[in-house]
Symmetry: D2
């Protein structure tokens, strides 16, 4: 499996913890989301100053596989990569792990490219395709 | 597909909404979780007065399929059912929908039965198996 | 002190709880916020179908006094009232309590009336003043 | 007013934002809380590996004054200091600001020292008093 070439560190917040003393399961999607937005910023496809109505993606599906509990003392980072570029959708994969290698969770989201102004799905923009291929293709031979 | 015989209503909170004006994607797992706990309470397998360290389950996997955006004006309920009873794990399925039938999301979680005191997985307790079968079996022929 | 004449029930979510087993302190502002929006909806000053960019208020200050821990088994409601109507600002007071009278928290927010389109503070609209006085004045003699 | 000698940086999460495009008001208490826990860790009064049932404090009151909206592009840090050491309670003050000086919010919490095992308030432990005085007193002449 190809490695992750983008990572975003996550600070565990006290408010992420639940009565079982570890990070609540729903927060994993929050962490993946935070890493996803930063992946797009890193590729120049979104900027922190833009409106999120211009980000042009919609989540169609999300999956999380929980491998180990995350505690307040954990210092994970979330690896993000695009593993599939379709016509109007793409798949992003995630791996949340400690620097020492302990994997807390893996996951994937199916993302549809969307124009909020026309409220319709659109083909993946050429700039997105180019930037994502530049980021992933060298490492990830099964991308088109 | 068998119908859902337990439903838990969700009040959309302002704080569930994100800059795109609809409910944030991670909240769907929060809604499923809230419905799941209430499903167990309804079956007598947990009570609101118990410690959550006694609930005896761990999430191994969670999936959400997003069908339609949820707004502040939405009044969904989450249907919950057990679709598989294994030896040490079970699968719960979810459907978040408006009373009029609009489906916002579906999902599933693989749940492992766990003893927090010994920190080990355990077979599904007989009381759980009996209560879940009573709730689901009549309607759900593929349960053992 | 005048009584509260509007109440909004709050369902405690599992995800509101923190590692100390009770509701996290920051959630109290979330509960007050949820009650505040519903107070405005109840008075006809906002509707669930409107954009929150049209709600026309900004928080200037918030205070919470914590009286008793809130647990998963709690079933509180939040009382809301306007205790002060100024020129461009008003004060809302909150009381979160169980139906049996146990008070979990009290609080207040200073709210500034604001026009998001011009990005400037504005005098409290006449319709707001009338509706709030109708709701509160009879009971609350110190309102103008 | 004495300066803050401890600061904790906050990463704004997409999920902290609300439909008005800025950070939701309740999150400010979450940011203060995260900074507060790290202040205690920094003083050696708590460690990330401890149970939060051993932290020995309870919030009695919290106040936030909102000065400027916080956006996804903001990179604030929260200054924390103890401004009052009573017998069984202390006051912590907070200032959330950008490195360039823009102040987003100020606040304070009244905190009661508490023993979770006996479920009773306790005098501020001598080790806490010493560590806090060491951190604050030199700069903050009005502490005892």
């Amino acid at each position: 499996m190809p490695a992750f070439h983008f990572h975003h560190p996550i600070e565990i917040r006290y408010s992420d913890l639940d009565p079982q003393g570890h990070v609540n399961n729903a927060r994993f999607l929050t962490y993946f989301e935070q890493a996803r937005v930063n992946y797009l910023i890193n590729l120049g496809l979104f900027s922190k100053e833009q409106s999120f109505l211009e980000i042009g993606i919609i989540l169609a599906e999300a999956t999380v596989t929980f491998k180990a509990p995350v505690y307040f003392s954990s210092a994970p980072r979330v690896g993000v990569r695009v593993s599939r570029l379709g016509n109007k959708s793409l798949t992003m994969e995630y791996e949340m792990a400690e620097a020492n290698g302990t994997v807390y969770a893996t996951g994937a989201t199916v993302i549809v490219t969307y124009d909020y102004s026309t409220q319709a799905t659109v083909p993946i923009p050429a700039t997105w395709r180019a930037a994502i291929e530049r980021q992933e293709k060298f490492f990830n031979k099964d991308l088109p």
